[in-house]
Amino acid sequence: MEDVKAFIESGILELYVLGDVSPTEKQQVEAMVQKHPAVKAELSEVEKALESYAFANAVEPLENQRNRILNSLVTNLADDATFTKKGAAADNVVIMKTPANNFYKYAFAASVALLIGSLVALFNVYDKLQKSNLQLVVMTTQNQHISKTVGYMNEALGVFRDTTFKVLKLKGTKNLPSGGMTVAWSPVKKKVMIDMTALNMPENDQEHQYQLWAIVAGKPVDLGVFDKSTADSSNMKQMKSVAAPTVFAVTLEPRGGSVNPTMDKMMVAGAVNL
């Protein structure tokens, strides 16, 4: 036991407690502490004395340090994988992480909403464009139709305004008592026009056509064939030229016309009144 007493009195335990020993001395002290309860008791007394001394000389840190330091530990606490206990520490970390998580969550939701909104808007615009295009086609067609109609009407008006034209009303024969048509003839221009709009005659079938004749010096002259159809009845049709006719007449002939008129198929006729 003598070596224990000497060990204690050497003052090494005090230096050990003060952290002022070499690694070898440290091991030595720890070995002695394990081996001899007396050394352990002595060590404990030295520690308590110095602990009390520190306590007596304590300096209270500023109040704000408590939260600062505890928070830094709590952050570490949450980083620690071994710490899975309940309590404010874990809650704190969740709160700290929440804003970042929510930001991306909301950003993602906003992006998706924006994408859907854009698609809806795009679809609407595309739909309107399609409708507009369709309307444009319809209007273009109408426009063409109108301009065509205007063209026909101008043509007709031109004929009727032209003072050189004579307008003849051909009347229905016994074959077609209610029939009638209008022929315009210009002796100066040698032009013959028929007014398809005022063609008061029945529709011809596929095998037959109407043929316009002019009687010149007692002989029939072919002026061309025409059809009566509901589809095309909005223009003046120019026939073959003729000079000095006395009578205009229309017969129903086989399609393509005949060389000589079939007299018993004469539908309308009218004399030129010079």
Binding site: S52, E60, P61, R68
Partner: protein, 182 residues
């Protein structure tokens, strides 16, 4: 102190720290921050730096707690050595030296005691008086080693006293404390 302080027995505290419970951290701070800060700010002097070192001390205590063994000594002994070592490291770091040249000249224990609100707890009044009973030569050595981070070899140099005498005085100073505290 408006806040209610948490206090546990050392055994409970060690157990709670081992289980990494949050209450252990709070108890640790409430029980030991002032004692540790007393050591740190006497070595460092500069208040902001002392506060940083106190924080580093708690972080290190928390992180390396698994290396503490109750067989080798009391918890406070282990912690105060961490605090002292971190303080000395900080004091010797290049940044700190450049930053704090002026204050180093005034670095002494009485200066600190005049500058700081040292704790005056009723239950400590007796202890304070007893501490004053230390002989000046005992107190100066103890304070150099305990509160200024000197090794006993450095203290011997500083005071111009043989190494053996330093050890003896240190031991008698602590024996005197033991008489007074126990």
């Amino acid at each position: 102190m408006s806040k209610k302080k948490i206090s546990l027995s050392e055994e409970e505290l060690v157990l709670a720290l081992r289980h990494r419970e949050k209450i252990a951290v709070e108890a640790l701070y409430d029980m030991y921050s002032a004692s540790l800060y007393g050591v740190i700010c006497r070595i460092i002097v500069d208040e902001a730096t002392s506060e940083d070192v106190l924080q580093e001390t708690f972080v290190k205590i928390w992180h390396s707690f698994s290396s503490y063994s109750a067989d080798k000594g009391r918890l406070f002994t282990w912690m105060v050595n961490i605090a002292r070592n971190l303080s000395i490291d900080k004091l010797r770091s290049k940044d700190f030296k450049n930053h704090n040249k002026n204050q180093e000249l005034e670095n002494n224990v009485t200066f600190i005691d005049e500058q700081r609100n040292t704790v005056y707890k009723p239950e400590l009044m007796g202890i304070k008086e007893l501490v004053q009973k230390l002989k000046p030569e005992q107190k100066s050595i103890l304070d150099l080693v305990y509160f200024k981070g000197y090794t006993h070899v450095e203290a011997a140099d500083e005071l111009g006293i043989p190494l053996g005498t330093i050890k003896t005085r240190l031991r008698t100073a602590i024996i005197e404390l033991r008489k007074n505290f126990n």
